[in-house]
């Protein structure tokens, strides 16, 4: 199962990115240092060029390569934390909704509907404006807008499992609810959750770029790929390197994660195809 070619492709895409993130501190320049006189220098792109702006400088004179390396950390941090927080929130609320049923379920599902109908852009703006723009708050934005996906899936799974024989048997035997939940329900939803989580991770990393475009992303001088991409959009024609390199990193990462998620889903349980 693990020998599927998709895993190989994903590894190929993600490994260099992971390396970049891990060894970001070895970057040739301080990502925030402004070489004001050296604005918009083109990439030198030779081995000996590593010491001299190998991927060029951006409109404020900062080294693109260094920023890209640190950007890995930021983008992945935003993605990973958002997914984890949202996942846990969604898991808990979904479990409660599915298991308890009744008015608790109804209330939670209404909240889900409200959140889903609320354009995430507005949520982003509001939170950023009230709490200020920061890494932590961006994670909050993503967590708050994406927990609903997990909640729905979890609730669905719980509803389906609630009436299975082994659960009914367990109840008849007098097991407490939480025990039933943890021993029987949770293991069955780990698979779909993981698959969803991987896709969400990819989506969030891309969405972070969109928020950057609207000026709502991780605030300067932080070097998230998203804000680099957003900054670079005005420079595509002449000084294309500002946005293209982080764009490539972004695409490779997201592609890798998606391929991984696909392969994971196929490997774990083909029945999850519709998820």
């Amino acid at each position: 199962m693990w020998a599927r070619w998709e895993f190989g492709l994903a590894a190929l895409l993600l490994f260099p990115v992971a390396l970049m993130g891990l060894f970001a501190t070895l970057a040739p320049y301080d990502p925030n240092w402004l070489d004001a006189a050296g604005r918009l220098t083109p990439p030198t792109m030779s081995l000996s060029g590593i010491g001299r702006h190998a991927l060029g400088t951006d409109q404020l004179g900062r080294d693109v390569l260094s920023r890209m390396m640190y950007g890995t950390r930021i983008s992945l941090t935003v993605g990973a934390f958002s997914v984890v927080v949202a996942g846990m929130l969604g898991l808990v609320l979904g479990l409660i909704a599915g298991y308890r049923g009744g008015w608790v379920d109804a209330v939670i599902m209404r909240v889900v509907d409200v959140v889903l109908s609320f354009p995430y852009i507005l949520l982003a703006i509001s939170i950023v404006a009230v709490l200020g723009a920061s890494l932590r708050n961006i994670i909050i934005v993503f967590a708050l807008s994406s927990w609903v996906v997990y909640a729905r899936i979890v609730r669905g799974a719980v509803l389906a499992l609630r009436n299975r024989e082994y659960v009914l048997a367990a109840r008849a035997m007098g097991c407490s609810s939480s025990r039933i939940v943890f021993r029987h329900v949770v293991p069955n939803i780990v698979s779909p959750l993981t698959v969803i989580a991987s896709f969400e991770l990819a989506r969030i990393i891309v969405t972070e770029a969109t928020l950057g475009f609207l000026g709502l992303g991780v605030p300067p001088p932080a070097a998230s790929w998203g804000s680099m991409l957003a900054d670079g959009r005005n420079y595509i024609q002449m000084t294309w390197w500002i946005g293209t390199f982080p764009g490539l990193a972004l695409t490779a990462t997201v592609l890798g994660i998606n391929v991984f998620g696909d392969a994971l889903r196929d490997a774990l349980d083909p029945r999850l195809r519709h998820v």
Binding site: R110, V111, D113, V114, L116, S117, F118, P119, Y120, I121, L122, I125, S126, A129, V130, A202, V206, T207, A209, T210, F213, L214, G226, L229, A230, R233, I236, Q237, G243, G247, L250, T251, V254, L255, N258, V259, R273, H274
Partner: protein, 293 residues
């Protein structure tokens, strides 16, 4: 119920947000006396609860307040901009079905072949690129360099092509992959083998019997994605200067035009609810085994 929650949420959040819409309107060069007088006129100096009361009261009569920026009825401003976004979204959906579904079917039928691989890779890439980047690249390629299409604005079918393609590309990719996997699942089913055994042409087998059942999850996903479509529309409209409510929403939030933001949010909530209902109805039609829930 949903609408109430959404309206309350947006109302509170907007009022709590720091930033004075009056100053936003006038820019740097404004006298504080002017700001104070304007606030009074617009009722912004009353306590929040009072403002909310007034707001609720007005909604019932269909009055969503006066847009601070345009000084006209917010409801009217939104209504004027709505058709443009609907047009854009519909066209995007159109691309999704015209390109995505056939691609998915094709890939499923030629499973494992070169085309299958190509379609899958392309759709993966399509799902992984931020909309605004895609939009700008398209604009540069097709409009500035090739001069095939206009760069921005609205008016003719030609103007619709790039923005709707940009907005719809994510859905094209999604639909292609989804259709493929659903078709693959369905293609192996027994009833299809029966149909083939009966001697029906392959394409009839595929479309009539296979596709119909694959539609169900496709429709679900499409419904879920409509919310994302509005989010994508905001970006697409900004890039292509498309005069829809997405553009309006961004401008309104940047200028703290409360009433306009509220109007747009309420509208999107309404749209979401309506679409969900439509999906539910469509469900019962497509799959008679699903009871009305």
């Amino acid at each position: 119920m949903v609408l109430f929650g959404a309206s309350l949420l947006v109302f509170v959040v907007l009022r709590v947000v720091p930033g004075d819409p009056i100053v936003m309107m006038y820019g740097t060069e404004v006298d504080p006396r002017v700001v104070a007088a304007e606030r009074q006129r617009l009722g912004l100096d009353r306590p929040i609860l009072v403002q909310y009361e007034i707001f609720l009261g007005h909604i019932v009569t269909g009055d969503l307040g006066e847009s601070l920026r345009y000084r006209r009825s917010a409801a009217q401003v939104v209504a004027e901009a709505l058709p443009a976004t609907v047009q854009l979204a519909a066209a995007a959906m159109g691309w999704a079905f015209i390109l995505g579904v056939p691609a998915g079917i094709f890939a499923a039928c030629t499973r494992g072949g070169l085309w299958d691989r190509i379609v899958m890779v392309l759709s993966l890439v399509g799902q992984c690129t931020p909309t605004f980047w895609l939009g700008i690249l398209f604009m540069l390629l097709f409009a500035v360099i090739l001069h095939w299409l206009p760069t921005s604005g609205s008016g003719t079918i030609k103007h619709l092509v790039l923005p709707s393609l940009t907005l719809g590309l994510y859905m094209v990719a999604l639909l292609a992959r989804l259709t493929r996997s659903c078709m693959l699942e369905v293609l192996g089913q027994d009833y299809l083998r029966t149909a083939r055994a009966k001697g029906l042409a392959e394409w009839v087998v595929v479309t009539r019997h296979g596709f119909r059942n694959a539609l169900i999850p496709i429709v679900t996903v499409v419904g879920l994605q409509t919310g994302a479509l509005l989010g994508g529309a905001i970006v697409t409209e900004a890039v292509f200067a498309w005069p829809g409510i997405g553009n309006l929403a961004v401008q309104a939030t940047n200028t703290r035009d409360y009433n306009l933001v509220q109007a747009v949010t309420l509208l999107s909530a309404v749209v979401f609810v309506v679409i969900n209902l439509a999906i539910d109805v469509l469900y019962t039609y497509l799959d008679p085994t699903v009871g009305y829930s």
